[in-house]
């Protein structure tokens, strides 16, 4: 990948990346009640990393990832599928959502369910898929 030697883009990329990644997690978590969700969050995170990809060498983009995007893809798929299973243990159909309520001091009631796990799976799959494609295309350059 030929780098675009743009100082502005590179500097902005360095600042934007952590912000955007944080924002993507925010989108992921709030998705159940407000606009957002795993798919959108995943796209934001992927775009952030791709932005860096444009601004930097591939090596540094990979360093930002610190894992192979193909692994992210696989972990995401696994999470999504595993989240479908618990329902079966309660005699309910495959994919029936399970909810567990915790009382967290100072924050109040916290509801955690298998749908969150599924949404995280979607998030990771989106990141993994987009980055696998992008990195393959970028690397194939040479």
């Amino acid at each position: 990948m030929s780098t675009m030697h743009s100082l502005i883009l590179r500097t902005a990329g360095n600042f934007l990346l952590p912000l955007l990644l944080l924002f993507s997690i925010f989108l992921l978590l709030r998705g159940h009640d407000e606009p957002g969700g795993g798919f959108i969050g995943g796209l934001v995170a992927a775009s952030a990393i791709v932005l860096n990809l444009f601004a930097m060498e591939i090596k540094s983009a990979k360093a930002v990832l610190w894992v192979d995007p193909r692994h992210v893809l696989g972990i995401g798929m696994t999470l999504a599928i595993v989240s479908a299973i618990p329902g079966a243990f309660f005699g309910q159909p495959f994919f029936t959502a399970q909810w567990f309520t915790f009382d967290v001091p100072a924050l109040g009631e916290l509801k955690v369910g298998t749908v969150l796990m599924f949404d995280i799976g979607v998030y990771l799959v989106v990141i993994g898929a987009v980055l696998t494609i992008m990195l393959s295309l970028a690397e194939a350059e040479d």
């Binding site: 159940h32 606009p35 969700g37 495959f94 749908v115 993994g128 987009v130 393959s136 295309l137």
Partner: protein
């Protein structure tokens, strides 16, 4: 009962380890299962002999009303006894026969799995279950024929058998579904108990489809060619699958369906004529062959033809003859195949011309070969004699085409004696011929047990026909006939027409045997005919044609140009949606432009302008960028119509698409190759038609509504049962999570595809 049927599969799963633990005695160890099953099934005899039936049902796919039900009546009992009884000898025999083969474990897996499938096939009372077991026997047969998979010929033969039987199986499935619809149930016993199948409007299609399945499985002319080729399998397999059990599945099906579908003119004519012709063709080809297993295979074709013919004739005598013949044939043919294996194992002979005078070296084998061959030839006092007398009596009394059938039967009887003489005399008597291997000793007991017991039973049952008659044959004949029959088998019927025919055919057959070489020479020219127009040649042509048309179609459809793929997909969509719209008379409601707001007009105009730029601009980067602008316009429309989630997604996807396209653009060559004006006009027409069609479809979906919208449910249930206020996300991850799972699967596959396409090709180039 379920355990009895499935035990074959269960033992198959652990057979390789059992084999490893028990070493050379593994044959006996594993044969314990068929032996135990035989005893278990024997325990049904008292109940079945009184005309009873035992039915077992287990829920299988309750949602589709399919249950795993098994029915034990006379017919299935006869079959399960043959399958488990002969199975016992086959498995123990194979332990020694294949002792030196390197993967005997695989053989045990397959043969036990086959036994389980075959038991399931004859016991199943549910059409779907029967079909599943039917196909399982085809598949295990395929794997067993191709057991020596390093041999190209064995692979070819295995595939041929599979394609012929599975092709018929497809027709059978269609026939079963129609049968179930016509009979109102998937339970075979209920379908057959119902009245009026013979008068049903679908009777003929059902009959033809079922017959296609039965005839291919049971190697009737013109599908007989796969059976001799199936002899590429190890001999125990040929003895078990391709003579005693699997090939009789078609006959079993005909016998099973006889009470419901039989008795019509079509049934009588098709079955008896196809059966009769198969019978004569089989025995004639057997008499022309010299390969040990070929002769036996063709004589099996004869037996299958005889059975089909007898079921077609359908009179009381014919049905009794059919079940008697079925049992007699399984006994002597099983024995003869096992003896063929001994010939191969001890003397290395695969061809009758290599054999002769082996009686002094293998006296015990000779004795049992002789009594089995006597039964095959239908010589008094063997069980085969009783069967043959009954068969001749049945064709003489056949309600129609009796003359034709008698002529076929008499010719078959004469040639049958010739075949019996080839099998029973040629290898054993006469001058000693130098065989490829010098037989030093008799075969081991494990290999002699089968021929000895099966052959002796043929003699015992001939002398005491009341033994098989009680309990099994009588009840089986009754089950096939559809009403209880009074079966009285006896060796001596007095001097009558069948006896005269038997005596004459015996003399003529033996006379023919002395002239066997000249007989073969006289018909040698038939080889050329068979090679140029025979059914096997037609099979090869069909297969070649299939490959050719797949090749042609791949060349046309998979041409590798993205633009043509796109063109094909769009045109296909245009045509299919257009035709559907015409048929269902799609209408769009009245259009009104009055309540479109100014901001909506603005976004629309911007989007259209972006589209116009995208198609006219000559720079690639410009086109990509304007496509992105178009996408943002669409996203704005989503936001205007209060769908923020969809809007955000659209923006992000557009961004990524532009980035992706830019990455791809880097890889394109620097020059531009613009399409010609004509091509552009064509593309414009297609693009506008597809766009127009989509617009019409959108408008009509707003106007016409077949079902109530599900949105109300989603809106109402989102918070109470989904615990989320964002309905879109609750739908995505909860209500329709399975859809989402499918989508991320597609996404993941696409990524893997791109990765493989780019990286693996790069590796190839290195």
């Amino acid at each position: 009962m379920l355990l009895a049927v499935l035990s074959g599969f269960l033992l198959a799963a652990i057979a390789p380890w059992v084999h490893r633990l028990s070493g050379r005695h593994s044959g006996w160890v594993l044969a314990a299962l068929p032996g135990a099953l035989f005893i278990y099934f024997l325990s049904f005899i008292p109940e079945i002999a009184d005309g009873g039936q035992v039915r077992f049902a287990y829920p299988w796919v309750p949602g589709l009303d399919i249950q795993l039900s098994f029915l034990v009546d006379g017919l299935s009992l006869l079959f399960v006894l043959l399958i488990s009884g002969i199975g016992f000898f086959i498995v123990s025999y194979a332990g020694r026969y294949l002792e030196k083969h390197r993967d005997v474990g695989r053989f045990y897996v397959l043969i036990l799995a086959f036994m389980g499938s075959m038991l399931g096939l004859v016991l199943a009372d549910n059409l779907i279950a029967l079909f599943v077991f039917w196909e399982l026997t085809s598949i295990t047969s395929y794997l067993l024929i191709g057991y020596n998979h390093e041999d190209a010929r064995a692979r070819y033969c295995a595939l041929q058998g599979l394609i012929v039987t599975v092709g018929g199986g497809l027709a059978l499935l269609a026939g079963f579904v129609m049968l179930a619809m016509a009979g109102g149930s998937y339970e075979l016993s209920e379908v057959l108990a119902g009245e009026g199948l013979q008068e049903h409007a679908w009777y003929l299609p059902i009959l033809l489809l079922v017959l296609a399945g039965a005839f291919t499985k049971s190697a009737q002319v013109p599908f007989h060619f796969w059976l001799p080729n199936a002899m590429a399998a190890p001999t125990p397999v040929s003895a078990y699958l391709h003579s005693a059990t699997m090939v009789k599945a078609g006959v079993y099906l005909l016998a099973r369906l006889n009470p419901g579908l039989g008795g019509t003119d079509e049934w009588l004519l098709i079955l008896s004529l196809f059966g009769g012709v198969t019978m004569l063709t089989g025995v004639f080809l057997a008499a022309r062959s010299t390969g040990v297993k070929q002769v036996l295979a063709y004589s099996t074709v004869m037996a299958l033809g005889t059975l089909t013919m007898l079921i077609g004739v359908g009179t009381e005598t014919a049905i009794i003859a059919a079940v008697t013949f079925l049992m007699a044939h399984s006994l002597y043919k099983g024995a003869l195949f096992l003896i063929a294996g001994i010939l191969d194992h001890e003397a290395g002979c695969k061809d009758f011309l290599q054999t002769g005078g082996l009686r002094s070296a293998l006296p015990v084998t000779t004795f049992f070969a002789a009594i089995a061959a006597l039964s095959l030839g239908g010589v008094i006092p063997m069980f085969g004699f009783i069967a043959k007398e009954l068969m001749l009596e049945a064709v003489l009394e056949a309600p129609t085409v009796s003359g034709v059938l008698t002529a076929l039967a008499v010719a078959t009887a004469i040639l049958g004696v010739l075949v019996a003489a080839i099998v029973g005399i040629k290898p054993w008597f006469g001058p000693r011929v130098k065989t490829p291997k010098d037989p030093h000793h008799e075969a081991p007991p494990a290999m002699l047990a089968g021929p000895a017991v099966l052959g002796s039973l043929g003699l015992l049952f001939g002398l005491a026909p009341m033994l098989p008659e009680w309990g099994v044959l009588g009840a089986a004949a009754g089950a096939v006939y559809g009403a209880p029959l009074d079966v009285k088998l006896s060796l001596w019927h007095g001097i009558n027409a069948p006896l005269m025919i038997s005596a004459a055919s015996l003399l003529l057959g033996l006379a023919l045997y002395t002239q066997w070489d000249r007989f073969r020479a006289a018909f040698a020219w038939l080889d050329g005919v068979a090679n140029s127009i025979g059914p096997e040649r037609q099979y090869d042509r069909t297969m070649a044609g299939l490959v050719w048309s797949a090749d042609w179609q791949t060349r046309v459809l998979q041409n590798g140009y993205l633009r043509y793929y796109l063109l094909t997909i769009l045109l296909m969509m245009l045509v299919s949606v257009g035709v559907t719209a015409r048929i269902y008379d799609i209408s769009i409601g009245e259009l009104s432009f009055a309540d479109i707001q100014i901001q909506e007009w603005t976004v629309l105009g911007m989007t259209l302008a972006a589209a116009a730029v995208a198609v006219t601009i000559r720079s690639r980067l410009g086109a990509v960028a304007s496509l992105g602008a178009l996408g943002f316009g669409v996203a704005l429309i989503y936001v205007l119509f209060s769908a923020p989630d969809v809007g955000i997604t659209q923006v992000l996807v557009e961004t990524l698409t532009v980035l992706l396209l830019v990455l791809v653009l880097f890889r394109l060559p620097g020059f531009l190759n613009l399409s010609s004006p004509l091509v552009r006009v064509r593309d414009a027409v297609i693009a506008l038609s597809v766009g127009g069609m989509m617009t019409l479809v959108m408008l009509s979906t707003l106007h016409m509504r077949a079902h109530d919208s599900i949105s109300a449910y989603h809106v109402a249930e989102s918070e109470p049962s989904g615990f989320g206020r964002n309905i879109v996300n609750v739908i995505l991850v909860d209500f329709r999570a399975l859809d989402t799972l499918g989508e991320i699967f597609v996404l993941a596959l696409a990524a893997v595809g791109v990765y493989a396409m780019i990286n693996l090709r790069a590796e190839d180039r290195k």
